[in-house]
Subunit: 457 residues, 2 copies
């Protein structure tokens, strides 16, 4: 069998860095949501780029699937080995290769997590701003085109990865982009690989754009009478040019869960969580203006956190949203929606979603990156319960269809994985077939993370 | 002959919207730099996307080259019909299709110029920030991945085009992206088409991200003792988080030319031109901080322009740089370099370039988008004088090679066209062959703007 032959050759190449024990494979067959466990045939721990290239050569020869794996925090089954094969773990490839404070960039290996990176950048007064909540690996974040709470100010992985090294399906190593801040020299392969979820190549090195740690950071929360007034506050904030750093919506059902889980006592209403970055006077000006805008839209008082520990508590509560809604539903896992629409359609989209979920007796638990028009709702399901999962999928389907009608997308930041693949043709039409032709060009044997992003025959 | 057959069918389809007169063809055989005139066999003026699709179907069938043309302001021969064929002019496709002030986006046809667009956006309090100097078409700017003076703050076309409609080589129409601000739904075809210079498809519609017109805009100029101190001022400005809107370097030879052409009396020294955007107090704070940084690096006094007419005069002088250096060299045209390096290598790169040009008896005439690490130098040549052109090309080759050694790119914003194609393999290595395979997948007959970006057999 081809996978067996590949594993035999890989064993010779890698020795102990190739594992086929059930326990180890099980560890790489998990995911954070409702998808069922599926195990790879082996887990490889390459020591460097050259070894990744050798692995790809062997696997390509034997048509053996290869699934790159960061920290396993993806939410759409993006790293599940649906056809078996070899999962590539980057535990041995976590180095920071170089930092340039003058150029405000850093070059890293894919296995480093964003928190590990930021701890190391602190001494330079710099930070990497993309924050998806989970302590994901930088390679995985790039592969998923992740974003999160700070994208409204600093952009997504797309805007923050300036160059890559990538091993192609046949083992060739390519370098995309450079350390120059901009270039018009040909097709943008960096942006093509970012968001390709390991289906076009394996990322082995990333050069990232950094930001200076702001002189001052202030956070605030504010309640609103309804979704529309909260969204309108953010629309006006952006229109007026306030460079808001975070603007997160939580609906009343999310607040209820977060209160319980994180020992807070917020009123059970829609809330916006704000963060402002800048010089002291700029943060003051930004926050005063936003308070005025919020008041004009019926918002309550601002509750401020400027001390680091208070801010951390607030954002930790926000980041623990998933655990909070899970804690309210013991013995459940969930499916999380991730649609993104033009912000002018966001309030309508959120309200319709909440209405539909309530009509099924569910707590909507909506949490949104308002400035981007992106929100999530957690649909609770009992693990491996097909009735629950089918109900959740039906609901997701309707939410996605409405998002597409409202000129949006089926996934703002979680990626396609297996969960969104059924919507790809509907969302992209003929462009989906162009994506398929790119996949076939890059990976003629279909070995790179098969079954994800595009279906090919 | 295949081109003849295509033109015959196009004539039937388009009637008067297809021209084969010598005068009309001559108009589309020109370019703004040293490249020799080359005429297309016909000029087509499609009335809409459907007609572009029909044109592509016909031309693909007959293997007839198609060259999209915006305003002809490109600088690397990007729109020269090297193999003849049909030039597509977008004069009939200049409409603004929709504006959404809440979403701060606009959808346009490719023929509209950036000045036309901005005049129309004014009533909404919005503007499109990318400013390459020339009043280029939006379609051409996207195709070239243009940027210019404001990229340091607002990004290049890459960051500001959020969706496209594109006619493929076989006439299929695809839509890339959506009006959602972000998406992780598959391969980023938008970013693949932006910068592809008409070699992968013909852009027929663009959705652009807009900015609010700032409450206050202030401009200033400041002289510096040398390049290094000017560059260091910008490095420190960016590190500290000042969202500077423009930061343009002009060397002493450029200042001399600009003084003469635009009737200014600036001291003949290196200068930085600054622009600050924001609220009144934010502009005040930004400019005070930058003045301190400049003074710390040996900069002279700031000369301010806050009144609109003064600012316009200053920036017009900057934008007329090309005309200024041309005016100093009557009966000459020029080749303009466009390398971009990490900003930490910029001063070295500029000084070496100036030294080399001076050693050949040339005025370096260096003008740079410092914040991006990108600069230009105009090398004057007598039109159609092969000795001059070969000398200029030799010099360019050495400048590009040094830029690549310094981790940069051969073109920051002018594109590859024919002028930079010889450097593509050296810059990208194996990735260049991946680009070629994308070209072959998208355009198997090689009819889309042949001879540009990648060489295919």
């Amino acid at each position: 069998m081809s996978i067996e032959n590949a594993i035999g050759e890989l064993k010779t190449l890698m020795g102990d860095r190739l594992c086929i024990s059930a326990a180890e494979r099980k560890q790489y067959g998990q995911n954070e949501t409702y998808y069922k466990e599926m195990l790879p045939d082996a887990v490889a721990y390459p020591k460097d780029e050259k070894e990744v290239s050798q692995v790809m050569e062997i696997c390509n020869k034997h048509k053996c699937p290869v699934i790159p794996w960061g920290t396993g925090t993806s939410l759409e089954g993006n790293s599940i080995p649906v056809n078996g094969g070899v999962t590539l773990s980057f535990e041995n490839m976590k180095k920071i290769l170089s930092v340039s404070p003058d150029d405000m960039d850093v070059t890293v290996q894919p296995g480093i997590t964003r928190e590990e990176l930021n701890i190391n950048l602190k001494e330079f007064g710099l930070f990497f701003p993309v924050d998806p909540g989970a302590n994901a690996s930088i390679g995985g974040m790039a592969a998923t085109r992740a974003s999160g709470t700070t994208a409204v100010r600093y952009g997504t992985m797309k805007e923050n990865v300036i160059g890559l090294k990538v091993v192609m399906s046949d083992g060739r190593i390519i370098k995309t982009g450079s350390r120059a801040r901009k270039s018009s020299a040909g097709y943008d392969l960096t942006k093509l690989i970012v968001g390709s979820e390991g289906t076009l190549g394996v990322i082995t090195e990333l050069t990232l754009r950094l930001q200076g740690i702001p002189e001052e950071i202030a956070s605030a929360i504010c309640s609103f009478p309804d979704t529309a007034s909260a969204v309108k506050t953010i629309i006006e904030t952006i229109q007026i040019g306030i460079p808001i750093a975070r603007s997160e919506l939580m609906d009343s059902t999310s607040i209820e869960a977060v209160n319980e889980y994180s020992k807070l006592d917020l009123p059970i209403k829609e809330h916006l969580f704000f963060e402002f970055h800048g010089s002291s006077s700029s943060v003051k000006e930004q926050s005063e203006t936003v308070q005025e805008i919020a008041a004009g839209n019926g918002g309550g008082d601002f509750h401020w956190s400027t001390a680091t520990e208070d801010r951390n508590k607030l954002w930790k509560a926000r980041h623990n949203y998933y655990y909070a809604i899970k804690a309210k539903n013991p013995n459940h896992t969930f499916l999380v929606t991730d649609i993104c629409v033009p912000i002018s359609n966001l309030a309508e989209m959120i309200d319709q979603t909440a209405k539909e979920m309530k009509s099924k007796g569910m707590a909507p638990s909506i949490m949104g990156h308002v400035g981007d028009g992106n929100f999530h709702s957690g649909i609770m399901v009992r693990p491996n319960n097909d009735d629950d999962i089918n109900l959740a999928k039906d609901l997701t389907r309707r939410i996605v269809e409405r998002a597409l009608e409202l000129e949006g997308t089926c996934t703002g930041e979680h990626g396609v994985g297996i969960g969104k693949i059924e919507f790809m043709e509907k969302e992209h039409g003929e462009a989906y077939h162009v994506m398929s032709s790119i996949k076939r060009t890059f990976d003629p044997n279909g070995i790179l993370n098969p079954g994800k992003v595009v279906k090919i025959n």
